[in-house]
Symmetry: C2
Subunit: 414 residues, 2 copies
């Protein structure tokens, strides 16, 4: 089966002067699941020739061309004009579109700047894509069996517009493609081990496309296989899922795009348990990850950041003689911290991290990257873990937090 | 004066399947400062035709082509072969290169897999760029007055190799360009206001190139102007700096790439003051930002994450009647938290954040995005601040933390 191709053109000089472009990562996963392959991306400055050339090249290579950015009201927003040049179309003022834009401004009790009239220019033959979060309308064009969509640059406007137009792209280009997709997120396992376990799965599904991505101690694995019919896609996905989960299920914290902190939050809620954190080398990063989840106040009580030893002693009740004997970077100290924060906050579960984040502070016996974790509770159960993490300070901290979240997730039982 | 152009080609199917590409943001700033303009970027999958086409296109447009990725040892690492095809060169095994690779493995007491031999293949006429952090050597090629460099994909290997080769690129292509660059980081000011203030600067330097980027409540501003000679570049930079600082100096926390948390750390060290944090809605993010700086243990003692009100009362000594009367999201509560954490840790300065991060939990009187900050000390001085932040949960938390860091920075005096 031929997989329809998509190509991305990102327009904006800021993308070539220091701004990180996250569009291609976001779009690629959604395109894959819908049955498309993202086969290329280009970033071009706000220059008419460069935009036109990139659009033409993309049209020569892909069934669907997605252009993001350059739909604003100012003089350097020229994607509309460049698309006209690439497709040999004309641009005309659309009074109905202008009315929509004016109505949007009126809703916010603002007067419409004259320059916003540029946003009411419609490419001949284009369908308008409504913008639910901003004033720049999108446009959809059909040409020689291909489709080009112009989307605004800001993610808050681009994301909903893309989600809304995706079913239409599928009807136009991927109707005979029946993707069966399964994604799973793993933690507590190195990427290399997960990858090795998944080798056999890949061998059994030669026609599938797989992606494995590792970041901060988590591994995300996507698989898409094309099914023969819409009817069989469900069964195909179930087989794919069973095969993948058979290989790496023990490391899975969730399916789809669920983060480890979301999975932990869900489990805490289900078990009606509360959590508190005690952090040394991570300095608050663990609490920050836990509370990045909306609604975390229903299970997270708080914590103690005990960066200095005096805080470990005074606020967590870690015995001074324990610190003298074993040092702050030790399983004993992690345990005492976990117990201490449980006591200090009244939480059902206390989790602690202590280690050497680096780059300084390492010794032969306690090198940079050595981290101890402890989870105390529910009831009096206790677990500790020793990690040796290689990498710069940020990597050590990120992976220590991921491991702590995973240890807590496991402590709550399956 | 003609500004030499650089084009970037990022190789790797993972870049088209969900991995965020940060190379172009990182490289563009460094290229600009060295006198180059990054005029385009393309991401291509591990496909020989696609890589070759992208390299050829880049060579037709730019003086310097930077290719990142695809230099690993496995079958899908084919950038070397694609570069040969694009430049009509051949690839030969280089025994000296192989010796270097074997020595690297020997240092780590590992045996060299046979497939790593691919990394000892040198393109005819190429200079080898040493890899200080991995086994993939880079290559530099000259062709028809242009330069192509092949760099490894992982940032930990690419960054040092690029820094090492940059002076050579300057000698080859930007010798007659004398960039005078000045970068400054601002906080405590909305991007729109900073932008407006810089309008006059832009008008006075019509030949300069400016970039303004806002992220998480910080604004970074880069300016590069080409000077007539190497001798005059220093004076030009001084004038550029004076002009920019005259416009936005009051908001600057540092020059170059210094982060707000680094600037705060530096000031705390200079003043010999210690810091502690009390966090509600940010759940540890403030502590995490403070401790992302290496060496922060010399001024950061720790903190209390008081997500639940009981923790505010028991661990920070916030009076229950204060919470009853004013609520947890109030200037009064922020003050009490800041005072409380100062007492609890013995720090010279306590800083507190409390607010409604959303998306739930907002009321008419206390909407989502309402945040109160307080700084207590040094001595008994106290400052509070009220913020109304628009945006999703992550935005509210990021900006609240940036504002808290800035408030503390200011409290330490100029």
């Amino acid at each position: 089966m031929k997989v329809p191709k998509a190509a991305l053109v990102c327009v904006g000089s800021e993308l070539l002067s220091g701004q990180v472009n996250t569009h291609q990562a976001w779009l690629s996963v959604r395109l894959r699941r819908a049955g498309f392959d993202l086969t290329g991306e280009a970033s071009v400055p706000d220059d008419p020739k460069a935009i036109r050339a990139a659009l033409k090249h993309a049209l020569s290579e892909a069934d669907v061309v997605i252009a993001c950015g350059g739909l604003g009201p100012t003089f350097d927003d020229i994607t509309r004009e460049a698309a006209c040049a690439a497709l040999d179309r004309s641009l005309t003022f659309d009074p109905r579109l202008w009315k929509v834009i004016r109505a949007r401004f009126a809703r916010y009790r603002m007067s419409v700047p004259e320059e916003n009239k540029r946003q009411a220019m419609r490419i001949s033959g284009a369908e308008i894509l409504a913008n639910t979060a901003g004033s720049a309308p999108g446009q959809l064009l059909r040409a020689r069996g291909r489709t080009m969509i112009l989307l605004p640059g800001p993610p808050s406007e681009m994301y909903p517009m893309f989600e809304a137009v995706l079913p239409r792209l599928v009807r136009l280009h991927a109707r005979r493609v029946h993707p069966a997709s399964f994604s799973v997120r793993l933690s507590g396992v190195p990427e290399s081990i997960a990858d090795e376990r998944l080798d056999a799965v890949r061998a059994r599904w030669p026609e599938a496309r797989f992606t494995i991505l590792a970041s901060g101690g988590e591994v995300s694995f996507h698989a898409t296989v094309l099914s023969k019919s819409a009817a069989s896609a469900g069964a195909t996905r179930a087989r794919l899922r069973a095969d993948i989960m058979g290989a790496v299920g023990e490391f899975a914290h969730g399916e789809g795009d669920v983060t480890l902190e979301e999975a932990l939050g869900k489990r805490l809620k289900e078990r009606r348990r509360t959590l508190a954190v005690a952090e040394s080398c991570t300095g608050g990063l663990l609490g920050s990850r836990v509370t990045s989840v909306a609604g975390s106040s229903s299970y997270f009580l708080g914590g103690i950041i005990s960066y200095a030893n005096a805080v470990k002693i005074r606020r967590l009740g870690v015995p001074a003689r324990l610190l003298d004997r074993h040092g702050a970077v030790s399983a004993q100290c992690a345990s005492a911290m976990a117990r201490g924060v449980r006591r200090a906050t009244g939480a059902d579960i206390g989790v602690a991290v202590t280690g050497v984040a680096g780059p300084g502070g390492g010794t032969k016996k306690k090198p940079v990257g050595l981290v101890f974790l402890a989870v105390c509770g529910p009831q009096r159960a206790e677990r500790t873990r020793r990690l040796e993490i290689h990498g710069p300070r940020a990597t050590v901290r990120d992976r220590a937090v991921t491991a702590a979240l995973r240890l807590t997730f496991d402590a709550l039982g399956p």
